[in-house]
Amino acid sequence: MLGETFARPNFLGVPFLDLATSGGGNKVMANIVAIGAVLGMLGMGIELLFDVLLSTLKKRDEDTVNRNKVAALAGYNYAGHNCVQCSFSIVQLSGQKMLLSTNDAIASGAIASGCKFYSAYPMTPSTGIMLYMAGKAKEYGIIVEQAEDEIAAINMALGASFAGVRAMTGTSGGGFALMVEGLSLAAMTETPIVIALAQRPGPATGLPTKTEQGDLLFALHAGHGEFPRVIFAPGNPEQGFLLADKAFEISQKYQIPVFIMTDQFLADTQWTVEHFDLDGLFCNEYRFSGEEECGGEYKRHAFTDSGVSPFCIPGLASGLVVTDSDEHDEEGHIIEDTATRIKMVDKRLFKKLPLIEKEIAPPLFYGHDKPEIVIIGWGSTYGLMREAVDIASKKKNIAMLHFSEIYPFPSVDAFDYLSVLKGAKTTICVEQNATGQFARLMKTETGFECGTLINRYDGRPFMLEEFLGELYARIG
């Protein structure tokens, strides 16, 4: 497909500098000429650009605005007259759409879920979440603190969470490596926390501004000791919004760490999307502050059938809230005896885990209902997979399974995706990493081994044409 594209190239030479200066403008205005030319090629109205110029240059004099307009029009007219192959017409939008990144969507989902505290250290590509939060801090009453390092970031968030407010942090590979001890602390103290992990290619500093899905198994295994965690990986901004809310819900309900994993491509890209459905938000409060639950005999880590102990907000009632990173008793004081240790591990892990597993939604199934070919993926490849299925469906019985709730690995109770996979002739797992981490996880969790892998690890997102090329090479 790429070959076809390059065999019949369509180019239009636009003399940007000449057009910029011929109308009395300067060389810098070549940029404006170029924007005008693009609008001309696409057959769009120039007024849109004029409006942008007016608002962007509102502090400049009228002459500057006019000279920019002249430059824009020069590019617009040139492309309109000279691009004989440009036969585009603009389809009117069916309605208003939103323009936002998945970072924005995750931040707004977190805010809608009641997040009151966000501490992080700037790191591409996760920084957008903190910027969005900071922009909304005053309006929603959120404290956004830029910590001195990622270790401080996660520990601050845990402090705020312990003290009674919903708290979150966000980072990327190396920053998360620093947070790992804090993750284990969250687990031991049963302090809820949501961690947004926006991946970029590693190891170490890697390709800081590029994309990769290389940290799934790292997030899954991070932290010393054994404890439950949940991992979500949205495939688009709407899933990011809703999963941020669900991350808080699960984190608060079971007092565990929950991850929202994205990557640079998904996190930082601006998307046009339909409005989000806010009716599905969870809206459950799990903290206590009344004297009835939090009176003098209160025990922070009390044994219960579900393994979840009522979590009181310290300072608001007469009971004391005590917790420890050492193994502890029901009150939260340090212990070393075998019986309490076993009961505590059972409480944190084995009692909670079956309940957490029930919260996990099955993968999204799309395409032919009895597919011969199934594409499997997670997180940011959602749009790619869907478009590929739409195109390949014309020739093949093809479908996709997209996982956005990854761990605990979805059970087959709600939807038996394993029988779909077993019934297919060809299964292809597409991942933006070198080793097929999700395919390995699926094999570990279900025993199903994916037939073939398509991996990309050059730091660039999959392009549809390239992916279709790879796909057809495998399915004929």
Partner: protein, 287 residues
Amino acid sequence: MPVLDDYKGQVPAWCPGCGNFAILKAFKEALVELGVEPRQLAIVSGIGQAGKFPHYTRCNTFNGLHGRSLPVATGIKLANHEMLVMAIGGDGDGYGEGGNHLIHAMRRNIGVKVFVHDNQIYGLTKGQASPTSMEGMVTKNQPFGVLSEQFNPMATAVALDCSFVARGYAGDPEHLKGLIISAISHKGFSLVDILQPCVSFNKINTYEWYRQRVYRLGPDHDPEDRVSAFARALEWGERIPIGVIYRNNRRTFEERVTVIQDKPLVKQIIPFRDLKEKMKETLKEHY
């Protein structure tokens, strides 16, 4: 009003003769004198003999990771600044593992009270050098003696314009109690370094060693004079001053965080229904 019994915790697992006992006693007396109820207090501690401190009294407790008590304490204070929040740990916890956090907590001037039980040795791990061990001190792990210069927390704090800098001594508990009261009463970040003999592992800085050197700062010392405070902070060796070395009235972090000027964050929870409506409006900004 609270009484001493309200602060009665578990029986300490410290060595007999440990300087920590005197610190614990002074601490409880100070809180009772100030009329602080255990429920109003949150202590964050790290790892080390001093890290077990909150279990030996009664208070809201977060006994977290080695060196990380200050970020946790900062989070608690920001979420609920009506609480009295303290960070308690040893010299390894506060000056070694947690050094970076100490610098930034001083910069923020967050209203957290830090008490460092400074015994100039690692007690929990049985006798390795700490950041405040004196140069040349021989341990099993430093057979050639400590090669690095001793960390000076007081001079560092004065240099960073820390808003309350004091040094106490476990061998002078009455004086120490006064310092604890001053540190708690001070608005803003307080660092109190407490010289604490470790009878098991530090055979150099003993009660006798301190007794010969420690002296109380008198009324001739003006803790608001930063230059003379710095001179006092540098004093170590033949004479070691205890008392309030330096203090200022910098605005606290809580006073500068816009969103908590009316009430603490924890008392500003927006009902979910309102939040949903508000978010609908916010999302319209993206059209």
